[in-house]
Symmetry: C2
Subunit: 240 residues, 2 copies
């Protein structure tokens, strides 16, 4: 299989290193399209959401109409490629990518979407070269997945960053929380997280909650986040 990846960001770079030993893949600068091959089976557009439409339209004059053109975005609908390509698709790896950080690609879930069954087949075939975890979903489900990954990954990491800086103010360090974080992440695979909830809000322990909010008094941002998430937990567990 011959694949050009257009885009050199986190996702593009990681897809390139995952594919390099599995198929004939190359990476292309999305501004110049220099070196783009005109006979690929699949073109993967891996640029920021705002730039997908522009890259897709500039690509048009270089490649054949039978080629499969897919983007790798979690939020952009398939329809952004309509009227340009007859076989269009989405090739969405659900993972947090950081440049320079190696990953176990074979466990990354890939979500595939296409307007044609040939597109689904080819994109699944490519995904299965890299990963054991490939599924076909629709645009609505892909958006739900992306939103859930913002909650489960981006927001979670931010809570850790806030904890880190709060601990530093008290002469402590996030390292002391590593075993706790590790155990919390391990537990989510063993029990549905609703059932493994612990902490003062889960116990409806208003004395501790009020003490914590009082202690955070100087930091408006931490205080508001504490209250918001505490209220959410309180509302989901009516029975103590």
């Amino acid at each position: 299989m011959k694949v050009d990846i257009i885009g050199r960001g986190n996702v593009g770079t990681h897809l390139m290193s995952a594919m390099s030993s599995k198929c004939d893949a190359a990476i292309v600068n999305p501004r110049t399209l220099k070196g783009l091959r005109n006979n690929c089976d699949i073109y993967l557009i891996s640029v920021s959401d705002d730039a997908i439409a522009d890259v897709a339209s500039r690509l048009l004059s270089f490649i054949s109409q039978e080629a499969i053109v897919a983007h790798t975005s979690g939020t952009t609908p398939l329809s952004i490629l309509s009227d340009l390509y007859s076989i269009r698709g989405v090739f969405y790896p659900l993972q947090t990518f950081t440049k320079g950080k190696d990953l176990q690609y074979n466990e990354i879930p890939f979500f595939v979407e296409s307007n044609k069954s040939k597109g689904e087949e080819k994109l699944c075939e490519l995904a299965r070269l890299i990963s054991n975890n490939v599924r076909i979903i629709d645009s609505e489900q892909r958006k739900a997945l992306h939103i859930a990954s913002v909650f489960s990954c981006n927001f979670v990491n931010h809570l850790w960053a806030l904890s880190d800086s709060y601990l530093k103010e008290h002469g402590l360090s996030i390292e002391m929380l590593y075993p706790l974080i590790e155990e919390t992440a391990k537990k989510v695979k063993e029990l549905p997280p609703y059932y493994s909830q612990t902490g003062p809000a889960r116990r409806h322990d208003m004395k501790t909650i009020n003490e914590h909010i009082y202690s955070l008094g100087k930091d408006k941002n931490l205080k508001e986040i504490y209250s918001q998430l505490t209220n959410s937990i309180l509302s989901k567990y009516n029975n103590i």
Copy 2:
């Protein structure tokens, strides 16, 4: 070393199973105090924060004044045991405990506090029987640790629970996020979380943020949490 653990909740039960092979430990019902031994080196009060003072005062008539009496709470100050015992302390294991779930005790950080050096020594000695990660801190630092653990563990687990139920509404499952969650938790040990932040808010990608908030429109709670945490990230990363 002879230790009675007063309390049969998550923490008490786990401490008992961690200590059972390391010292002469027993667990005691906090309501009846039945079977309490009068010649222990250390008494660990492991009950809900509200009940510590009551258990501590009822304990008084059964044990010698030279005994070390410590509680295991993250938030309760050492002073709750003042005027009752000459050697008082705190023996705080920073971990999320779930009954019936085994743990690697030797990596759990134990935080020790006492009003006397003899108390610090004995409580550290006990903690080191279980764990390789033992520190002496003060009540102020312990409260900061507890607050940070609410953010890093309780709130994080709740975000996963919210994701789980949101995905279920869309015919999907939290299982699809396992690799993402695992990678996110692994990354926090390798890079300070501030620097590994990803996602639409980190990129100041207002188009995606607004689309997500629009999609969540029906769920007021999810929408408010999304906005709150997004605004926090936006404010911490002024430069794109």
